[in-house]
């Protein structure tokens, strides 16, 4: 390797995509290269991406699902008086967590915090704490902890999209990190490959096999392209410090302490101090709440964070509710925990860089989104899941048509992809339905109940993968779509039989969370049933495999798109 070729490499790097030299790789232009990359980067982790997209999408209704999965809880307690609620929570903390380093009071500020709650760290068991650290939802009216069935609820369902549930954090980070990166590469190469982005937006040719799948893939991708790009890049940024730890390490050092130093420099409010060890009574919260509500408005305190309660160096941080901001950070007020003096007012973004990160993270989480926008987020997520699903199906349909034309047998890879497609694109939703079924059918008192809800979700999915492997491909689609139709469509009935909060009751008492859940799963069920019927209608004369391919109607290969 000579210096000149190194130089050539670097100059090629700068030109990024010049024509290959005489001794270069096999023929094939820039677009072919991008098309190839798009195909394989999309296929390799496609099913993982579908899982991430779908469970993440469901997560836009995480607290609504939480509430459906704990039907024992009353309707949301949003709008309770802040002073009274804080009093009630503080009393509960004194009982549950004496001697703690940190008391955290969650006020019922909105949809993402429908009930009051407490959280604590570093409590003293000797002094009578129920646990060193813990978390409890508390009834704001009575001050008693809520008692409801043990469930992971919408939180576990939505956390799966980056924790993958059964894996360690490190394993999940690696898999989700690479999958997200692959998604981003697939999006960028997809845009590059895609010449006529606007014309194709209005192009859909149904019933033409491969061509139709390509059209569907294009429409689903283009219609929510800004969302797809945003959600993917912000997903990377969200976990950025885990995925790219060496950047911070290079400037701070590799140990945990160095990392904490970075986090406190960038994210912690200024003015946190170590405890002195001298005890001093905690200032009553009433006056501080009045100051915060004066500034932000009534019911706009999200939480109250008390550091070193009972110490002479106690600090109390008030967090503003974030429902009016896109960015994930709200304003914070820091008070002296003994004198009650306002020490700092920390703006939402302490720097432009943090502001940019908060904006991305805020967009990703969508906590700010009021109902209409929340549904738009949800549908965009579904479009993204559909984009991945159609891409995966397109890969298989294309190869099966080519295979049928040459009368050759499907190779192992094609058959594997076809099975994984049915078993995941329909099988995973069936798993999610099983999660809801398990929530209603597992005995309320059973041990490890929450874990078993999830186990049953994954077992149902596994069963669908096995089913897909055993059945002819076309039959598998019909049968699984029918199962999904039943599993989702009958959830409102299951809810009627197992709780007293059925649809009519929910409508009568304006419980829109329960109404919304029941109607949404009913719609999903009906649509799955309809899809099953459509695929059944289009079943090929000979049950050979690929879905919705009509005999003798295979689309022709398009120039520039041989993948």
């Amino acid at each position: 390797m000579t210096l000149t070729s190194v130089g050539k490499g670097i100059s090629d790097f700068l030109r990024a995509g010049g024509p290959p030299k005489a001794d270069g790789p096999p023929a094939g232009g820039f677009r072919q290269a991008m098309s190839w990359l798009h195909t394989w980067v999309g296929l390799t982790l496609g099913w993982v991406l579908f899982f991430i997209f779908l469970t993440g999408t469901v997560g836009y209704f995480d607290t609504e699902i939480d509430r459906w999965m704990q039907p024992e809880l009353p309707q949301a307690q949003i709008g309770l008086d802040s002073t009274d609620t804080a009093e009630v929570l503080l009393d509960r903390l004194r009982v549950e967590a004496p001697g703690a380093d940190r008391w955290f009071l969650t006020l019922p500020a909105g949809r993402h915090q429908p009930y009051p709650g407490i959280f604590w760290q570093g409590a003293s068991i000797k002094a009578g704490a129920s646990a060193t650290s813990g978390e409890l939802p508390v009834n704001g009216n009575t001050g008693e902890p809520f008692v409801a069935r043990d469930t992971g609820g919408g939180q576990w369902l939505y956390q799966m999209h980056w924790r993958l549930h059964y894996l360690s954090r490190t394993q999940a980070d690696i898999i989700v990190g690479f999958a997200t990166m692959f998604m981003l590469v697939a999006l960028i190469t997809g845009i590059i490959v895609h010449k006529k982005i606007f014309r194709d937006f209005f192009t859909f040719r149904p019933g033409k096999g491969q061509r139709s799948w390509l059209d569907a893939h294009n429409v689903l991708s283009v219609v929510a392209l800004p969302f797809h790009l945003m959600i993917t890049y912000s997903g990377l940024i969200f976990m950025g410090f885990s995925y790219m730890p060496l950047i911070v390490a290079a400037h701070y050092g590799v140990d945990d302490e160095a990392r904490q130093q970075f986090i406190s420099e960038v994210f912690d409010p200024p003015g946190l101090v170590a405890p002195t060890g001298e005890s001093a009574p905690l200032v009553p919260l009433d006056d501080l709440i009045a100051v915060a509500e004066e500034r932000w408005g009534e019911h706009r305190i999200r939480s109250i964070d008390i550091r070193h309660p009972g110490d002479s160096n106690a600090r109390i941080i008030f967090y503003e509710n974030i429902e009016r901001r896109v960015s994930s950070g709200g304003e914070r007020l820091m008070f002296d925990g003994v004198s009650g003096k306002l020490l700092h007012r920390v703006p939402p973004a302490t720097s432009a860089a943090k502001g940019a990160r908060d904006l991305f993270v805020g967009l990703h989480e969508g906590l700010f989104a009021p109902p209409v926008l929340r549904w738009l987020f949800f549908f965009s997520g579904l479009l993204g899941s559909g984009m991945i699903a159609t891409g995966l199906v397109l890969w298989a349909v294309k190869r099966r048509q080519r295979m049928e034309k040459t009368h050759s047998l499907p190779h192992l890879g094609l058959r594997l992809v076809e099975k994984l497609n049915v078993g995941t694109v329909v099988g995973l939703p069936i798993g999610i339905a099983a999660y809801f079924w398990a929530n209603r059918l597992l005995p309320v008192a059973s041990v490890g109940r929450a874990d078993w809800e999830v186990n049953l979700m994954f077992l149902a999915w596994l069963m669908m993968l096995v089913h897909a492997a055993c059945r002819p491909n076309h039959r598998a689609w019909i049968e699984q779509l029918a199962i999904a139709g039943f599993a989702f469509g009958s959830l409102p009935l299951l809810n009627l039989l197992t709780t007293d909060r059925h649809l009519w009751h929910s409508l009568a008492v304006n419980d829109w969370v329960f109404v919304g859940f029941d109607l949404t799963v009913l719609t999903v069920g009906l649509m799955s049933g309809w899809a099953a019927w459509r695929v059944w209608q289009k079943r090929p004369l000979i049950d050979a495999g690929g879905i919705s391919i009509k005999q003798g109607k295979s689309a022709q290969q398009l120039p520039g798109e041989q993948l």
């Binding site: 290959p20 072919q32 991008m34």
Partner: protein
Amino acid sequence: MGLTGSRLASLVAAALVGGYALATAVGIFFGGVLPMSRGEAALVGNLLSFAAYVGAVIWTFVVRRPVRVWLGLIIPSCVLTAGGLLLAGRVA
């Protein structure tokens, strides 16, 4: 595309590992040279590193020549890392 066997494996490894190295290096470089506080600069470097990663992966499969790709990723990675650390005075 005629990419098979060891060539393909080498390119995939270059895209994943070499791309990761370049992305980290770009982050370290920005973290070292941007005229803002250390934490902020490191955060900006972190935000931008993923764009560099995508660029590196795409570039790898445009060039499609393993040796050239590896050099094109590793040399800038070393230069950017060293540059970022030196200019920020992190190494003596």
